[in-house]
């Protein structure tokens, strides 16, 4: 019943997409399409919530697809949770799209694909056999690719699209191989069968690395992340929100589904890879982000960072589970899943904010913005809440899930393996570094974009965005606050999911007494109460405010900025995004990006301008992508010669093939 409702909403989404194809050119098409999409997503959220509460695996079979297997679907706690994430994101993006969509230059390139993209993501999560899964997976990739390509006139889009489609196929094929090995010689692609026999001893390592490659490249694990900061920003902003906030979570889902569920029990060694990759991803992602001055690209790099945090949690869960420490595993898994939810919320919020800025000013280059808080105060507020949440600041939700992750790390001394006991705290320090850098990065992002003085006329004359967009943003901002102050509600809801993955769950958090702090695991005295902290902050703030109002001089005079007495009229003398990140680049950049600064100072007496030029290189690109790309180009060039041979040379090829074949026959057979 529930699953039928879910499939119906998927069908509805596909139907909307068809309708959109027909009506895309009309004036009010956007509102209709986005409205209908929001409704379909709302239905799906409700159904999935019921499914999550019901905590029963429901299976469903449709006689479509491959002739002898058909399409299998399944709704269990895990898929229900991810369905909520997907459709919540979809709903908010649709609402945002109602307003934002009006700025779209070519709506016919966005409208039909948007609901189809959502349908694809839903189907991935629902699929219960490898064929349906991969079909939906590739459909999802393709639809998002179409959305990325919707602004195909912009200079970087073609390259982004190309790299994206290559990476998407790479991930699909890696997963295909993984499923192929999992299916074994019988070639049964139903998940139930795979689950029943798990991964064979010898092939588990291969399957695991393939899954890590396939799901990891989609999620944006370093070093497979390079496509992500190119592709996500290229799409329209509400689509960027979906890709960054939701599609990467679908990839996380794929990883969890295969590694935790289908493969059966795994050795602890695998967790080392996941934890290590997670830590590196978190730090590298945020370092990349710091170096950006394109707002949306910065956000995309932050997705990489958060994926790293999520994978760290998942890796810890694997490690604990492999050693039978189920309670700790449940904590780590819940932390990761909670972060999945949180990230989808605040990343969507931030992309909406950047979309509003983009729509209002026409640029996403932070160096051309500034001072927007005065012309777009509501957008700025929404963005600020998102920024604080993603920077893991209490009392918002980002802190709650990172706190849980840290608590899981603090349990790592219980692990028997030395490698893990050393690795976990090191990764913990990396996460802390990532969190601190994220805060730095969002000080920069918010500060340069919304604060200061406008750097261009476009930023000066910007206007506040429309009410639908604001509604979507504030709904998400509200969710950030709620999830931050009552995290217990969410970890309780995740209990069934965690039970499915780790055979245990976090202690049930009492919600009746609202002040009850979050307890990570039984017998653990550590606790954190978002509500209490929030209440105290409110109290302290109010007391201070009232005290100041009552006792202090409240007179205010407006004047020129002081600036140590230097009259500072040029807008360009403000700190730019580039200069803000300069100290951090000096500290980390040479190591991480081979950063080089070239300073040109004119000789004394010359009045020419001094110049500074900074080059950054992405080591992942240089080490991992450039060699294969150049190898392919090299081989293609070599083989390309074959196209322009004379007839005689072609004949020679045929002749040689014949002689070779005959020789083989003469000698060997």
């Amino acid at each position: 019943m529930i699953i039928a409702a879910l499939l119906a909403s998927v069908a509805l989404l596909l139907g909307i997409s068809l309708v959109a194809l027909a009506v895309a050119g009309r004036r009010q098409a956007g509102v209709v399409v986005y409205g209908a999409t929001a409704v379909a997503c709302a239905v799906a959220v409700a159904a999935a919530a019921v499914g999550l509460a019901g905590n029963q695996a429901i299976e469903f079979h449709l006689p479509i697809g491959l002739p002898w297997t058909g399409a299998h679907f399944r709704l269990d706690a895990l898929s229900a949770f991810f369905l909520i994430v997907v459709n919540l994101g979809g709903m908010s993006a649709s609402i945002f799209g109602c307003g934002y969509g009006r700025h779209e230059i070519a709506p016919q390139r966005v409208l039909p694909f948007f609901p189809a993209f959502l349908a694809g993501m839903n189907l991935v999560v629902l699929a219960n056999d490898a064929f349906s899964f991969l079909l939906a997976w590739e459909f999802m990739s393709l639809m998002s690719w179409a959305l990325v390509m919707s602004h195909d006139r912009e200079p970087d889009t073609a390259r982004a699209g190309y790299i994206y489609i290559v990476m998407a196929s790479f991930s699909m094929l890696a997963l295909l191989l993984a499923f192929g090995i999992l299916a074994g010689p019988d070639g049964n692609y139903a998940f139930d069968v795979m689950r029943a026999h798990g991964a064979a001893q010898g092939s588990a390592a291969i399957v695991f690395s393939l899954v890590l490659l396939g799901a990891g490249s989609k999620a944006g694990l370093v070093p497979l992340h390079v496509w992500l900061p190119l592709a996500h920003p290229a799409a329209p902003s509400h689509v960027s929100a979906l890709m960054s906030g939701v599609m990467t979570k679908v990839a996380v889902y794929a990883f969890i589904r295969i590694a935790f569920d289908l493969m059966g029990p795994l050795d602890w060694r695998y967790s080392v890879i996941v934890i290590g990759l997670g830590g590196v991803t978190a730090v590298m992602g945020v370092l990349y982000a710091l170096m950006q001055h394109d707002l949306k690209r910065l956000l995309a790099y932050h997705t990489v960072e958060n994926i790293g945090i999520i994978f760290t949690g998942l890796g810890l869960a694997l490690a604990f589970r492999a050693n039978g420490l189920t309670a700790a595993a449940a904590l780590a898994a819940s932390a990761a899943l909670f972060h999945v939810f949180n990230h989808s919320v605040f990343k969507s919020l931030l992309f909406f904010g950047s979309g509003a800025v983009l729509a209002s000013t026409g640029t996403r280059d932070m160096e051309k913005l500034g001072g927007l808080i005065r012309v777009m105060p509501r957008t700025a507020t929404g963005f600020l809440i998102g920024a604080a949440a993603i920077s893991a600041l209490p009392p918002l939700n980002g802190f709650a899930s990172e706190w849980l992750t840290f608590q899981a790390i603090f349990l790592s001394p219980a692990l028997p393996q030395w490698g893990l006991r050393f690795l976990a705290p090191a990764v913990g320090a990396m996460l802390a570094l990532a969190a601190a850098l994220a805060a730095a990065c969002f000080v920069k992002a918010f500060g340069v974009t919304f604060l200061g003085r406008p750097r261009t006329p476009a930023a000066e004359t910007a206007v506040e965005t429309d009410s639908m967009s604001l509604a979507a943003m504030f709904a998400l901002a509200g969710l950030c606050v709620v999830a931050g102050i009552v995290p217990g509600f969410f970890t309780n809801a995740l209990g069934t999911v965690s039970h499915m993955l780790t055979a245990s769950e976090m202690p049930h958090q009492a919600l009746v007494a609202l002040g009850t702090p979050l307890l990570p695991s039984l017998g653990n005295p550590n606790s954190y109460s978002g509500l209490m902290v929030a209440g105290l902050l409110l109290l302290a703030g109010t007391v201070t405010y009232l005290a100041v109002r009552t006792f202090a001089n409240v007179a205010t005079r407006h004047s020129l900025a002081w600036g140590c007495g230097y009259p500072d009229t040029s807008r360009n003398s403000q700190y730019s995004a580039e200069s803000f990140a300069q100290p951090i680049r000096r500290v980390f950049g040479t190591l991480a990006f081979d950063a080089r600064e070239e300073v040109f100072m004119p000789p004394p007496g010359d009045v020419g301008a001094a110049k500074i030029h900074v080059t950054l290189r992405d080591p992942a690109w240089d080490l991992l992508y450039a060699p294969p790309a150049s190898a392919v180009a090299f081989i293609a060039d070599r083989l390309n010669v074959l196209q322009f041979l004379t007839i005689r040379r072609y004949l020679s090829l045929v002749f040689l093939a014949l002689v070779l074949l005959l020789t083989v026959l003469a000698l060997w057979v």
């Binding site: 808080i373 005065r374 105060p377 604080a388 920077s391 209490p394 802190f399 706190w403 840290f406 608590q407 790390i409 603090f410 050393f422 705290p425 913990g428 320090a429 990396m430 996460l431 802390a432 601190a436 805060a439 730095a440 000080v443 500060g447 604060l451 200061g452 003085r453 702090p517 550590n526 606790s527 954190y528 209490m532 902290v533 105290l536 902050l537 302290a540 703030g541 201070t544 405010y545 100041v548 006792f551 202090a552 001089n553 409240v554 005079r557 407006h558 004047s559 020129l560 900025a561 002081w562 140590c564 500072d568 403000q574 700190y575 200069s579 803000f580 990140a581 100290p583 951090i584 500290v587």
Partner: protein
Amino acid sequence: MIQALALQGIQGLLVIALAPLVTGVVRKTKARLLLRRGASIFQPYRDLLRLFRKESVLAHNASWLFQAAPYLVLAFTWVAAALIPVLAFNLPLGPGADFIAIVGLLGSARFVLALAGLDVGTSFGGIGSSREVMIASVGEPAMLMLIFSLALVAGSTQLSVIAAFTQSPAVGLRISLGLALLGFIMVAIAENGRIPIDNPATHLELTMVHEAMVLEYSGRHLALIELSTFLKLLAYLSLIASVFLPWGIPPTWAGGMQLASALGLFLAKVLGGAVLLAFFEVSIAKMRVFRVPQFIGAALMLALLAGLLRLVSQSF
């Protein structure tokens, strides 16, 4: 219960009342060490009062965030400082925030302040914010590693549990704790913008960090920010006091005498710390901004070492 709540309240009020005094003591000691007479140890109170009485001057383009920031910063810092158990361990609001949460609260305060530094759009504000977040970005991992090694020793990140552990005879003489203390002091110096990281008394543009951020503030806003700065210093001192030197802190409400002695000991510890800080500050020169990561990196190394030693053997 009522008493415990009251004690919590007292603790909250105590820290805010005491904070300027601690800074006053530091300043006075420094002045005496430099053979000046120095202002009275109560001068910070007078400064605050003076600032509260003055009108506030805002730049034309200052946004609401600029005006809200002082209140937010103070609220964050105050809550963090108030939740550190100094008068008794098991206070009713204690479970609301562990060590990480307190560090997180201080981080929130810095986040808001760094944003405020960028608001008016002067180059000084930018310098300050940019350097502040850079220092924080190395300071926070070090802090977390410290918390980790403490948690390894004490088995918890809850301040009251850690403090109860260091108070217990089980603690003995542990190298890992000593290393952690050293690292903690280094991080505390960096976080509070003391010499050699930053000079709280300077207004020389190239060396400013914290002062550059708050350059545009005046009147009541500046007063609130100054107060938060005092509070932050006190918070770090009282963290040291309650985590590393928890002697004399009762487990819970235990009557007036206990309270008085706890209060006295707390004052002694904090003011002693202030004097030591002053000694340290006058005996060292401020370092270049880009040496800071090395300084904090050393703290990180200490923390890692503490953790490693602890992992290798239970007796460290």
